[in-house]
Subunit: 493 residues, 2 copies
C-alpha cells in the first residue's frame, strides 16, 4: 500500500458568493428589522419562522433565473430519495404552511417573516447567494382592503426605520387594469400570450429604457448600446399607443388617474374591475390617513413576476444619491409586492387569496446608511490594561465593577508584556477609555484614566505644551473609577 | 410520444426532522436571545454572523455521529466540484473566520454568534435537524482569565434571562487534571489511548449510570438493562480507585477540592498545571464577585468532546421538574464549553488558543417556560368587526386611529357575512377587545366595545341575570374609542 499522503491544510475561505457580517453590520440590520417587526406587530401580523430547508417539491419552480443548475436553488438528495433544498424566498414556504396548517391557522392569517434566503446564482460584485428578506403577507383575505393595509404598513415601516415622509413613495397599480388595456387593444387570447409577456417586461423596464426604449419593444424590437437586438411584441401603432397612454395615465390626483384608466379599458370587464379596485384602495387608504403624498396610483408599476393577479405595489425612495458613475440619481426601489391568488392552490387544489410585500433588507439598509439613519456603531468597550501580570485578579475586579455599573468593559487578555500592543488593541476596539494601574498607583490606591477619544483629537492638533500637560489622562482614586469613566462616556455621547 | 402525465399536487409538509415556529415561539426565543446578547455586549463581545453555507473542507469532521451520510452534515457538490455544506455548529465557522481574517481582527477576538445550525441526523421525538445555538468565544487569549470570564458571563446571562441565583450552578474542571490523574495512575502513553478514551466517556456518564456503573466501565465492562455489554477500560483496582477518587474529589470549598486533586496528580506536570489553573480561575472569579454559590470546581465535569485541551465547564439548572416518567428530577445541563487550542491550527499551522461556551437555546427556553419566566405571549390585536360591507373605509379608519395610538389592531378581513365567524376569529387571535358598529350605532355616532377577556370569564361563571346585563359590552361615543380600549387593555395587563 502506498504511504498515505499528508492531508493538505483546508483553505480558510467563505464559499464563493457568501460573506461574513461583523459587529455593526449585524447590529445595524438587527435594529432595523426590530423596528419593522414592531410595526408589523402593531398591524396585527404574527411572526412565523419556517426552516431553511424545504422539499424541492414543496418549493416549486418560481425563480426567473432558470438557466442555472437546479433552477437556481441549492438542492441535494436524501438517502431515501427525497430531494431537499434551501428556500429561495419566504413566499413559497408561506404557501406550504398555509396549506399544511389550514385547519389550525386563523383565517385570514397575517404573518411576517424575516430571515436569510439562498439563491444558486452566479456570484457577482455586490451580489450574494445568501441574503435577508423581510416579508409580510395576508393569506385568506379576498378583499383589496388587505392590499391597502399592506401598503399602509409598508409606509409606516419605512418611516419607523428612519425614512422621512416625502423621501419615499409607495406606488400602486393593478394587473387587471393592464390586462384590461391589452384586452381593449385586441391582445386577449392564448395566441397573444407571448406578446403580452413582452409588454409586461417592457413596461417593467420603463425606468431604465425610457419611453422610447419601451415603445421600440412594443413594436418591432430594440437594439441596445452593445448592439444586441431584443425582439419586440409586434404591436400595431394603435395598440402600442394605447399601452403608452396607459403608462402615462398618471394624473394630478388619484381620481384623474382612475378616470384616464377607465377610458383605456372600455369594453374589458377585468379592466373595469381593476380600476374599481384601485379606487377602493385609494378610498381605504385615505380613511386610514394615507394620502397621495405617501401612497399614489401609478400605472407604470407592473412588477416583473408572473404570479401576480391583482394589485401590485412598490416602495421607491425618492431622495438623491450618487451612483457608481458619479451621477445624481434617485435611490430607487426598496420593497415591492402584490396579490397572488394561486400559490396555495398548488397544494390544496382550492384557490386561496393572498397578498403581501417583501422589503429588500440590504437595499433599505444601504439607504439608511446613505441618509445617516442607520444605527450608529456600538461604542467599543472600556479597556482595563495589565501592567503587573501578578495582579490580574485586581484588574479583573475593576472590569467586574465597571460591568456591574452597566459599562461595557474588558480586561486585556493578550500577552501583556508589550504595553504598546495593549494600546493598539484598545485603538482597534474603538475603546473610548483605557484604565491603567501600575504597582505605584496600586500602592497609592489610584488609577490612571485615559480618555482615548480626546487623546486622539489632541494628538492631531495639540501644541507640544498642550501635549505635555496630558489633559486626556487623569489620576483618580480607585473608588471614583466608575463615576470618572461615566463622565467621560457622557461627554462622548 | 406518450401524453404527458398530469403533475400530482406537491405535499404540503415540512421535511422530516424540520419544524416551523409560530408566533410566541418566535418572540419568546428572540426575547431570550436579545437579553443574552446584551450581556455578551456588556462583556465586550462583538456579534459575528457567518453564512449558513461553508465548504466541506473548511468545516472539517468533528461531529461524533460519523455513521451517517456525509458524516452528519447536509452537503452537496457544486458544478465546479467544490463540496458545500450547512454548518453543524458555530465553532467551526469561527475557526475559519479567525484564520481568514487573522490580520484584521483584534487579538484577542471576543465574538458571539446566534443562529441555526443543521445536523443530518436521524430525526426523533423532540430531536430536530435544524436548531439554534448561541455561542461566545475568545480567540487568541492563552490565559485562563479568558475561561474565567466566559464562565462569569454565562452566569450573568442565565440570571439576565430569568434563572434566579441559586437555581443554577456553573461547574468547572480542567482536562489537564484528568490527564494528570491518568498519568499518575500509569495510564500515559499511546498504548493506553483507548483506555483513556473509555475513562473519559465513562466519567461523562456519571449522571446517568451512577458511581457503580462508571466503576464497572473502568474495570471489565458493564451489561446494561437491555443485556447489551459495553467493554470496560480494563483498569486495575488501584487505577480505577484513583479515577473514582478523582470524581469524588469535590470538597466543601474550592481550596479543599484543589488540595484533594493535587494529591491525586502527584508526579504529573500536566496534572499539577491543571490544578494551578483551577486555582487561578477560582481566584479571578472571586475577584469579579462570582463565588462558589454560582461557579464551583467540580471534578466530575469532563465534557464528551475530544477537542478540549484545558478548562471545561457546564451550566446546570438545579431546580426540580417532572420528567417524562413523572419522576422529580433536576432540570440539568443547559450550556457547556471549554478551551480548544487546536481548531484554528488546522488552517494556519500555528496554534491559536481559544475558549468558549455554547448555550443550548431550546433547552434554556424550555427551562424558562418551566419556571414561568419565558416572555408572555404577545397580546392579540383588537379586532374591528365588519357589520356593513359598504362601510369598510369607516372601520378601517377606526383601525387606523387605534394603531395611531399604539394599540395593536386589525380589521376583520375575511368574509363578513357571518358575524359569528368574526367572533370565532377574534377568539382564535386571542383578541382582548372587539369593536362593533352597525348602521344604527353609526347614525348615533357610537360604537359597541366588547371586553372579550371579561366576557369569557362571565360566560364561565355568571348567573343568567348577570349574563343579561352584558357587563362585558359597552356603548361609547366614537370619540372615546381609544380611551375606552386603553382602559380595558390596562385592566388586563
Amino acid at each position: 500500500m502506498a504511504k498515505p499522503k499528508k492531508t493538505p491544510r483546508p483553505k480558510a475561505q467563505t464559499p464563493k458568493g457568501f460573506r461574513d457580517y461583523f459587529g455593526a453590520e449585524v447590529t445595524e440590520r438587527k435594529a432595523m428589522l426590530d423596528k419593522i417587526a414592531e410595526v408589523y406587530h402593531l398591524y396585527g401580523f404574527d411572526p412565523l419562522e419556517t426552516s431553511a430547508v424545504e422539499t424541492v417539491e414543496a418549493l416549486g419552480k418560481f425563480l426567473p433565473d432558470v438557466d442555472r443548475p437546479n433552477e437556481g436553488v441549492f438542492a441535494w438528495q436524501e438517502d431515501d430519495a427525497d430531494w431537499l433544498a434551501l428556500r429561495y424566498d419566504l413566499t413559497a414556504p408561506l404557501a406550504r404552511v398555509a396549506a399544511q396548517y389550514r385547519n389550525d391557522l386563523p383565517s385570514p392569517y397575517r404573518r411576517y417573516a424575516m430571515g436569510p434566503v439562498w439563491r444558486n446564482e452566479k456570484p457577482g460584485p455586490g451580489r450574494f447567494r445568501q441574503f435577508y428578506q423581510c416579508d409580510a403577507d395576508t393569506v385568506g383575505a379576498p378583499s383589496v382592503a388587505a392590499d391597502a393595509e399592506v401598503c399602509a404598513m409598508l409606509a409606516t415601516a419605512l418611516e419607523a426605520v428612519g425614512i422621512p415622509r416625502g423621501d419615499y413613495i409607495v406606488r400602486i397599480n393593478n394587473r387587471k387594469v393592464l390586462n384590461g388595456v391589452m384586452e381593449a387593444a385586441g391582445l386577449a387570447g392564448d395566441e397573444n400570450a407571448t406578446a403580452r409577456g413582452i409588454v409586461l417586461r417592457a413596461i417593467d423596464k420603463l425606468d431604465r429604457l425610457g419611453p422610447e426604449g419601451v415603445r421600440a419593444l412594443l413594436g418591432t424590437g430594440r437594439k441596445d448600446e452593445s448592439g444586441d437586438f431584443t425582439d419586440g411584441a409586434g404591436l400595431s401603432d394603435a395598440q402600442a399607443e394605447r399601452i403608452m397612454a396607459f403608462m402615462a395615465a398618471k394624473g394630478e390626483s388619484g381620481a384623474e388617474t382612475c378616470a384616464a384608466l377607465a377610458d383605456l379599458v372600455v369594453g374589458s370587464q377585468a379592466g373595469t374591475d381593476g380600476v374599481a379596485e384601485l379606487q377602493t384602495m385609494a378610498k381605504l387608504l385615505e380613511a386610514q390617513g394615507f394620502g397621495p403624498d405617501r401612497i399614489v396610483i401609478d400605472p407604470s408599476v407592473v412588477r416583473g413576476l408572473g404570479y401576480y393577479t391583482g394589485p401590485v405595489f412598490e416602495a421607491e425612495l425618492t431622495f438623491e444619491v450618487q451612483n457608481d458613475k458619479g451621477q445624481t440619481v434617485q435611490f430607487g426601489s426598496v420593497a415591492g409586492g402584490g396579490r397572488y391568488d394561486d400559490l396555495v392552490k398548488r397544494f390544496t387544489g382550492q384557490a386561496v387569496p393572498a397578498t403581501g410585500v417583501s422589503i429588500g433588507v440590504d437595499r433599505l439598509l444601504a439607504a439608511l446608511r446613505a441618509k445617516g439613519q442607520a444605527q450608529a456603531a456600538a461604542p467599543g468597550p472600556v479597556i482595563v490594561t495589565v501592567m503587573d501580570r501578578e495582579r490580574i485578579a485586581d484588574y479583573q475586579a475593576m472590569v467586574g465593577t465597571l460591568r456591574g455599573a452597566g459599562i461595557r468593559a474588558e480586561l486585556y487578555l493578550g500577552n501583556p508584556k508589550n504595553f504598546g500592543n495593549q494600546l493598539k488593541y484598545a485603538d482597534k476596539r474603538a475603546a473610548p477609555v483605557a484604565v491603567i494601574q501600575g504597582s505605584d498607583e496600586a500602592a497609592r490606591g489610584v488609577v490612571q484614566i485615559k480618555d482615548l477619544v480626546l487623546g486622539a483629537q489632541i494628538a492631531e492638533s495639540a501644541s507640544l505644551d498642550e501635549w505635555k500637560s496630558q489633559p486626556a489622562q487623569r489620576e483618580v482614586p480607585v473608588a471614583d473609577l466608575v463615576a470618572e469613566v461615566q463622565a467621560i462616556l457622557a461627554r462622548g455621547a
